[in-house]
């Protein structure tokens, strides 16, 4: 099972990209130091310079190196992604799994809560909460994002644990007198590991995008991250001045990371749902058909 998971090119691509950005987040500042770059330094001889020469990705309006900012920004963005994903996944597990396992009144209450959070427009809500907390830190932003972003995951986990709770091995253990809480966390939960892992990745991307969106709207901590780079580009009118190198690289990083997560999730989905594994077997007959057609034409 593990080997089929890794055999997929999609999954391997995703894992490599993800690993790259994790390393960038951990070693970014050190890498900047090694390259002799400083995200804060103002190079007065190179204001708003296109990529090339001393500055591989160009400079912004204040003569700050974009490459250095993107490298330094990885840590902030990945940090928000990590904390936000941990919080939202934890809440999703605590709400979704008991709801699906116990059913009945517990499910009624928890599912109602989940549905309310599902229909709420989360981004405006986060904006308002963050707006009240003047001068927020990155951690607070990540916590808020996590707190409001768990509902989709909880719904999926509820459905899955509902089906697991009705399987024979769970029934058998219940008959043997196993306690409910142990059953939920030691027997049901391990069966959801793959799903939770893919949820976690999804939540991480969601949190990174939400944070970038918030930063874009001016809700950010003073520390540097991809969102703040895009925001300052927008605020200084980078688009209308044609300074594409200012706002393209940071968002490209987010998009790459998002694609990587989606690719890994594809692999997880195909593992969990064999019906989706169709792409490969169909390819051969098509080639055969083409050969046959070519033969027929001749």
């Amino acid at each position: 099972m593990r080997s089929t998971f890794l055999a997929s090119t999609k999954v391997r691509f995703g894992l490599v990209v993800l690993a790259f950005f994790v390393l960038l987040a951990v070693f970014g500042p050190w890498l900047n130091h090694l390259l002799g770059l400083d995200p804060q330094a103002n190079d007065m001889s190179a204001i708003a310079q296109p990529p090339g020469g001393h500055h591989p990705l160009g400079t912004d309006q204040f003569g700050q190196d974009i490459l250095a900012q993107v490298i330094a920004g990885a840590r902030g963005s990945m940090y928000v992604g990590l904390v936000g994903a941990v919080v939202s996944t934890l809440i999703a597990i605590l709400v979704g799994v008991p709801a699906g396992y116990y059913g009945g009144r517990v499910d009624g209450a928890l599912n109602f809560l989940t549905n309310i959070f599902i229909v709420m427009p989360v981004l405006p809500l986060i904006m308002i909460v963050a707006g009240y907390l003047q001068g927020t830190s990155l951690t607070v932003i990540a916590l808020i994002i996590g707190f409001f972003g768990w509902s989709g995951g909880a719904r999926t986990l509820r459905a899955q644990s509902m089906s697991i709770a009705n399987r024979d091995f769970v029934r058998a253990m219940r008959m043997l007198g196993e306690r409910g809480r142990r059953l939920v966390f030691a027997e049901v939960l391990p069966h959801l590991t793959g799903l939770i892992a893919s949820m976690f990745l999804h939540a991480m991307i969601g949190a990174i995008m939400a944070q970038a969106g918030l930063a874009f709207l001016g809700i950010a901590s003073p520390s540097i991250n991809w969102g703040t780079v895009i925001q300052s580009a927008q605020q200084q009118g980078a688009v209308l001045r044609g300074m594409w190198w200012w706002f393209v690289p940071p968002a490209l990083c987010i998009a790459l990371l998002g694609t990587a997560a989606a690719m890994i999730n594809f692999g997880v989905d195909e593992l969990a749902n064999p019906k989706l594994r169709v792409a490969k077997p169909v390819r051969t007959p098509r080639r055969v058909r083409k050969l046959a057609n070519a033969g027929g034409n001749r």
């Binding site: 309310i116 599902i118 709207l217």
Partner: protein, 352 residues
């Protein structure tokens, strides 16, 4: 998906028992959305009161410094009803707050001083409703249609190109797509205006020239939203179609010798579309959130831009009002989606 005709819907209406079940479903959903609206309103009530400091006091100080004059007693009272009166007990505050909302009195804006918040909201709402409404429906229809195609022939060239591509597209932050589109089509090529929602030289009204300028200004923002929102629908529909295509009833339909088109649309797609429709609720909040950012990029005169300026200027009354109106609109749209769901899924009509 307009091709999916629904003959069952007309016959179902004839039976009173079925109609009752259908209304029962709608009534339950309506009850849920009422509860959701109530919790959003209550959340809106508690948030400023939970935050450190005295929110209404800060707002009043700010309002007085902006306007340069003492605020009248009833204006102070209105602000305190929304943002908290430090001297009153919580329950009577809550009742007063609900009463205030019932009168659609959301206080006055700080940055546009004497303008009531509700006036600002009414100005922005039509723009956002048009933009988000049209694009959401368009994205859903196009995405679901393409998804059905990709899933129907899973593994075909169309599928192997489009599916990974949309994965990448849906991983791109909304506002960045908008920035790039603005850069290429607005700045580089000069095909579209760079900002705003209409030609400022024209008098606003229902003249054809004005309507044309609205369309010209709205085309690019709308295209970016459709482009970004498409992927989710496409992938969801593709995966569902891949699983339904294997079902026995599809095989039977093919064995009966029905045309491929008919099997695909009436048998496979009609069943595959259901989860996508359920997902509508899940997506709508995100689409609205993304559209808010798009409005900021294009300086589009809607609710999102209003929220942006109010957050920048810490104009709390406007922020509150915008959140309230967005939530209520999203809930209403969900209710609409539920009504369509009844038409699509006979199992609800039959009450199975």
């Amino acid at each position: 998906m307009a091709v999916v005709t629904l003959p069952a819907a007309t016959t179902a209406a004839r039976s009173p028992a079925r109609a009752r079940r259908r209304w029962g479903f709608l009534a339950r959903r309506f009850g849920f959305y009422l509860a959701a609206a109530w919790s959003a309103i209550t959340l809106n009530f508690f948030l400023p009161r939970l935050m450190p400091g005295n929110a209404s006091g800060a707002i009043i100080v700010k309002l007085e410094s902006v306007s340069g004059q003492q605020m009248s007693a009833d204006q102070v009272e209105a602000i305190q009803k929304i943002f908290g009166n430090p001297h009153a007990n919580l329950f009577s505050q809550y009742v007063a707050y609900l009463g205030q909302l019932a009168h659609l009195n959301l206080g006055v804006s700080i940055s546009n001083y004497p303008t009531p918040v509700s006036d600002l909201l009414w100005q922005g709402l039509p723009w956002t409703l048009m933009l988000v409404g049209v694009t959401t429906v368009l994205a859903f229809v196009i995405g679901t249609g393409l998804g059905a195609l990709a899933g129907w022939k899973a593994g075909s060239r169309f599928d192997t190109i489009v599916s990974p591509l949309t994965t990448f597209i849906s991983a791109i932050p909304y506002f960045w797509t908008a920035l790039l589109a603005l850069y290429f089509f607005g700045f580089q090529l000069g095909w579209f205006p760079l900002s705003g929602g209409y030609d400022p030289d024209l008098a606003s009204g229902f003249s054809p020239a004005f309507a044309l300028s609205v369309m010209r200004y709205g085309a690019l923002p709308a295209a970016t939203i459709v482009f970004s929102a498409l992927g989710g629908w496409l992938l969801g529909m593709r995966n569902m179609t891949v699983t339904t295509v294997r079902e026995d009833y599809v095989l039977l339909a093919q064995a009966k010798g029905l045309t491929g088109r008919r099997v695909m649309l009436r048998y496979a797609a009609r069943n595959a579309i259901l989860p996508n429709f359920t997902g509508f609720a899940l997506a709508l909040g995100h689409v609205v959130g993304g559209a808010l950012l798009t409005e900021v990029v294009f300086n589009y005169p809607g609710i999102g831009y209003l929220l942006y300026t109010s957050v920048q200027q810490r104009d709390y009354p406007v922020m509150q009002g915008v959140f309230l109106i967005i939530t209520l609109t999203v809930l209403l749209a969900n209710l609409l989606a539920d009504s369509v769901y009844i038409l699509l899924d006979p199992r609800i009509r039959e009450g199975a």
